[in-house]
């Protein structure tokens, strides 16, 4: 009895007031919350990718029995043949998971939490408690989304854009019953989580910068996270209201989005609503959302490119200006998703104009990245190859935006595979490259160990080849008029000559999917068996590398370091080493760059 009490006391003393629960589960420490976001995002990502591989197999070999389908889909694949309803559900949930759960929460949640306090020199987020609540709301919404996969009539299947009336009427589609209800609840909670997180990031960046850390000495990562949070606060509430109104239409008989509907032999009572209104509300978030996804990746890539090129980022001020320009324009371009929705053609003209404008800051960023590596001393760490990959796919994917953003051209490629190719390259693959780059780069900071670089290279090169192999040919089958979200193309002989291309695409997708196993192996084994990291493995200038390898609450043991220079003093003439950390005072006579 007494022995038990003794060990208990010793245990308590050893751990101070940290218990397993407060350290790993309900942690308020930003570094732990970042890891929680990353792991949850990774698990959701695995599910999302497996779904995409399943529907790619269906497209390549339509209606052929497959043991994988039989095993994973159960009653939705009688005899191993995928059902048309579950095909749409897979497409829908794949989109939802990848856009929101992986590339919003997984990417922004991980790196904003990890880097904002560390890079601006703060002991933690402004509110650790809100931060914890934000993560747990995200976790709950993930769980609800996964539960929705198992309901009787199937998960939501109206596309990730859930346009009513399809999403509003259970008689129009099985997935629009309980599955859609859970989808909406999950998303409402997700939005709450995202808003709490974003407010926290904004407040922290504005109020808690260390001495000397002026806004023009912030690393571009922080600029990107900061502006992303602002876009999120502006646009996510609009999606929340759209979701709430849709819930009312579905459950309480209101007519916000529905009117004059005759389905299954009866006229419904709805009158006066308009699905186009929903489209406006959805895309008012939906378009800024793609920048919520891509801006953090841009910030991460800018940081990594400078550090690994051993050069300052080129055009620091232009980079900030373009982030701000993109953020502003991103809120006034949503209509380019709706050129053929039936809205007034004049509005289409306006949105064409604003949409093509957004290509300008994007082009500036691409040129600045290219100039950053020009005459550099490029260290090809896995994070760097992913960053170069990011710029490559961002350019390839971004350029076709010129076609989709042009209302006249959009008429014929709208909702075809051309669109799939475009947005997967420009925001899907690019953002995931940014995320991988960030993970390889900050893994030592997160887990105190290094990831295996050779596995990292293999991961990159297979992924890079597969990504182009999957999405480049898609442009062409899109231009041939093949619509997206078709369970099979075999009902149209017109598309028979595309079948081989679809097989090639699926083969690349399977290879690319398999390559992610290498990454997962590397990620999880390095946590325990990776080589121990040193304090500043990449010889970077930013403040996070001045903290100890072992995480402590409050980040710095002594005082928080002060900042005396911008974050990109790489290879600055007059110094012995090729990097000068931000907390090193200017030498006598040294001038800070007028950036």
């Amino acid at each position: 009895m007494s022995a038990h009490a003794d060990t208990h006391e010793a245990h308590a003393e050893h751990h101070h007031k940290e218990t397993f629960m407060t350290k790993y589960i309900f942690s308020m420490d930003h570094k732990m919350i970042a890891k929680q976001y990353l792991i949850t995002g990774t698990l959701m990502g695995i599910i999302g990718v497996i779904m995409s591989l399943m529907f790619r197999i269906q497209i390549a070999w339509p209606e052929e029995p497959n043991v994988i389908f039989e095993a994973l889909l159960g009653k939705w694949a009688p005899g191993g043949v995928m059902d048309a309803d579950i095909y749409l559900a897979l497409v829908t949930i794949h989109g939802t998971i990848m856009v929101f759960f992986v590339l919003t929460a997984g990417l922004s949640g991980t790196f904003s939490n990890l880097l904002i306090p560390l890079q601006i020199g703060a002991r933690d987020m402004a509110s650790g408690f809100l931060n914890m609540v934000s993560y747990w709301l995200f976790f709950i919404s993930s769980v609800i989304m996964l539960i929705s996969l198992f309901v009787e009539a199937g998960p939501a299947a109206a596309g990730w854009t859930i346009y009513p009336p399809l999403s509003a009427l259970p008689m129009a589609q099985g997935g629009s019953g309980m599955g859609m209800t859970l989808w909406l609840i999950s998303m409402a909670i997700f939005i709450a989580s995202s808003l709490l997180g974003s407010l926290n990031y904004i407040v922290t960046v504005i109020n808690m910068r260390t001495k000397g850390m002026s806004m023009t000495r912030l690393p571009l990562t922080i600029w990107a996270f900061f502006v992303t949070a602002i876009i999120g606060v502006v646009s996510f509430p609009v999606l929340l209201s759209a979701a709430l109104l849709l819930i009312m239409d579905r459950s309480f008989g209101t007519s916000f989005f529905l009117s004059d509907i005759f389905i299954q032999g009866e006229v419904l009572h709805y009158q006066g609503g308009s699905p186009v209104l929903f489209e406006h509300l959805f895309w008012f978030l939906g378009h800024p959302e793609v920048y919520i996804v891509i801006l953090p990746a841009m910030g991460i890539v800018s940081e990594i490119m400078a550090a690994n090129s051993r050069k300052p980022i080129f055009g620091y001020r232009a980079m900030i200006a373009s982030i701000l320009a993109i953020a502003f324009l991103s809120t006034i371009v949503w209509g380019h998703h709706m050129f053929v929705s039936g809205m007034n053609p004049f509005l289409g003209s306006v949105f064409t104009f604003t949409t093509l404008l957004i290509a300008i800051p994007s082009a500036v960023k691409a040129f600045n990245w290219i100039t950053t590596i020009w005459k550099g001393n490029i260290q090809m760490n896995p994070a760097m190859v992913f960053s170069i990959g990011f710029v490559s796919t961002f350019i390839t994917g971004g350029l076709t935006g010129i076609i989709l953003g042009d209302s006249a051209l959009d008429i014929n490629v709208h909702d075809t595979y051309f669109v799939i190719a475009h947005f997967h390259l420009v925001m899907g693959i690019s953002a995931i490259y940014g995320m991988f780059a960030g993970i390889y780069h900050w893994y030592p900071k997160m887990f105190g160990r290094m990831m295996n670089k050779n596995l990292g290279y293999i991961h990159f090169w297979i992924t890079a080849i597969s990504a182009y192999g999957v999405f480049f040919p898609m442009h062409f089958i899109g231009m041939a008029g093949l619509p997206r979200r078709y369970y099979t193309n075999s009902t149209f002989p017109l598309f028979d000559d595309l079948a081989n291309t679809n097989v090639i695409i699926t083969v690349f997708a399977l290879i690319g999917g398999a390559a992610q196993l290498i990454y997962l192996y590397n990620f999880f084994t390095s946590m325990f068996y990776g080589k121990r990291a040193v304090k500043n493995p990449w010889k970077s200038t930013t403040l996070e590398w001045t903290t100890e390898v072992k995480h402590i609450h409050g980040n710095w043991k002594g005082d928080i370091p002060h900042v005396y220079r911008w974050p990109y003093d790489y290879s600055k003439p007059g110094h012995d080493v090729d990097f000068v950390p931000q907390n090193v005072p200017l030498k006598e006579g040294e001038e800070e760059l007028q950036h």
Binding site: P275, N381, I403, I477, M479, L494, A514
Partner: protein, 355 residues
């Protein structure tokens, strides 16, 4: 077949991984593995960057050569289609030029400036002239595209009633299409889904008391006289659909509770289109594929596929439920005489009702 391909894929992956591990292991001989890129890593990845650049070019060329004839770039069957195709070709040209140059710069720099011990990077933080140049160039190019694009858009969307277009209602429902003509007066009778009376065969909810509705004609295949503007008035009875007519470069959503519209002038009859060399090639290619597939099917004891003959189509291009993938209707473009003869055979709305 599936199993074989799956195995092939797995074998390819295994070989690729094995080879890559070997390459990277070679770079590690005699080095302590501290997981930070060495000069050898820099060199290998630098070369791979050039290899990857080659891969991007190759897949571009392959796509254009192999798949480039699939896009419907040269056979638009409507008056404004040629304009869209022209703009498309210009935009694609701009895109390809920019793509080739920027990808080259990116990958070549990555190769050229790969890190070496003892080398120092150039401290080069900004240059306002350069920033100005690559702000202005996109501005100029995009202005051109915007102006051309908006001009085209306005021509397409401004359907003038003065051209005396033939008015056709497209009516979408899960998962089929119907079309309604205004009849002799070319005026559609009023309609609302609340007036649908299945027992009386009033399936589109046409107002039986509207005098304009009496001579309306409801059909399941659209016929259009060549050279005459057509104005589609588009309705949906249940969920969103999209009337996609790729050969005419035409698309508009079908929105319940609202009438949307899209107009164009068909310029090539179905019969003429079937005789164009491009189309003969395409159809021959498709029929070859179908013949091969039919043999497989017959071997399995199933029905062979029918021969494909070209027809203009209207497809549903907005996710609308389970059978979204099979919601189609033929469009026949024909001479005015053929059209008139066809129209004469159709029942008017008044006569199609069951009393």
């Amino acid at each position: 077949m599936t199993a074989l391909l799956t195995i092939l894929v797995l074998v390819c992956i295994a070989i690729a991984i094995w080879q890559l591990v070997k390459i990277f292991d070679l770079a590690q001989v005699g080095k302590s593995n501290d997981q930070i890129a060495t000069d050898k890593d820099n060199a290998i990845n630098g070369y791979l960057m050039m290899g990857f650049l080659a891969f991007i070019y190759i897949i571009t060329i392959w796509s254009v050569v192999e798949l480039g004839d699939l896009p419907l770039l040269s056979n638009a069957a409507s008056e404004h289609g040629a304009q869209i195709d022209n703009l498309m070709v210009i935009s694609l040209a701009v895109i390809f030029i920019v793509q080739i140059i920027t990808q080259f710069l990116l990958h070549y720099f990555a190769y050229k400036y790969k890190g070496e011990k003892g080398k120092t990077a150039l401290f080069y933080a900004d240059n306002n002239t350069l920033e100005f140049i690559w702000t202005v160039i996109p501005v100029v190019v995009l202005s051109g595209l915007i102006i051309y694009g908006l001009f085209t858009w306005n021509t397409i969307m401004n359907v003038s009633e003065d051209d005396d277009p033939i008015v056709v209602e497209l009516y979408a429902q899960q998962f089929s299409w119907k079309a309604r003509y205004g009849g002799a007066d070319n005026t559609l009778g009023k309609a609302n889904v609340r007036l649908i009376d299945i027992d009386r065969a009033n399936i589109l909810g046409v107002d039986e008391s509207d005098p304009n509705a009496q001579d309306d004609v409801i059909v399941s295949e659209v016929h259009l006289p060549v050279g005459r503007p057509v104005l589609f008035k588009i309705r949906s009875q249940d969920v969103l659909h999209s009337a996609y007519m790729p050969h005419f470069r035409a698309q508009m959503n079908c929105v319940p509770g609202m009438v949307t519209q899209f107009g164009f002038t068909p310029t090539i009859t179905t019969a003429e289109m079937r005789q164009t060399p491009d189309m003969i090639d395409k159809v021959a290619k498709i029929n070859k594929i179908r013949a091969e597939k039919s043999e497989e099917l017959i071997a399995k004891g199933e029905q062979p596929l029918e021969r494909y003959e070209f027809d203009y189509l209207i497809l549903c291009n907005k996710i609308c439920g389970k059978s979204h993938y099979n919601m189609q209707m033929n469009i026949i473009v024909e001479t005015q005489e053929e059209f008139d003869a066809w129209m004469k055979e159709q029942k008017t709305f008044k006569n199609s009702l069951i009393n």
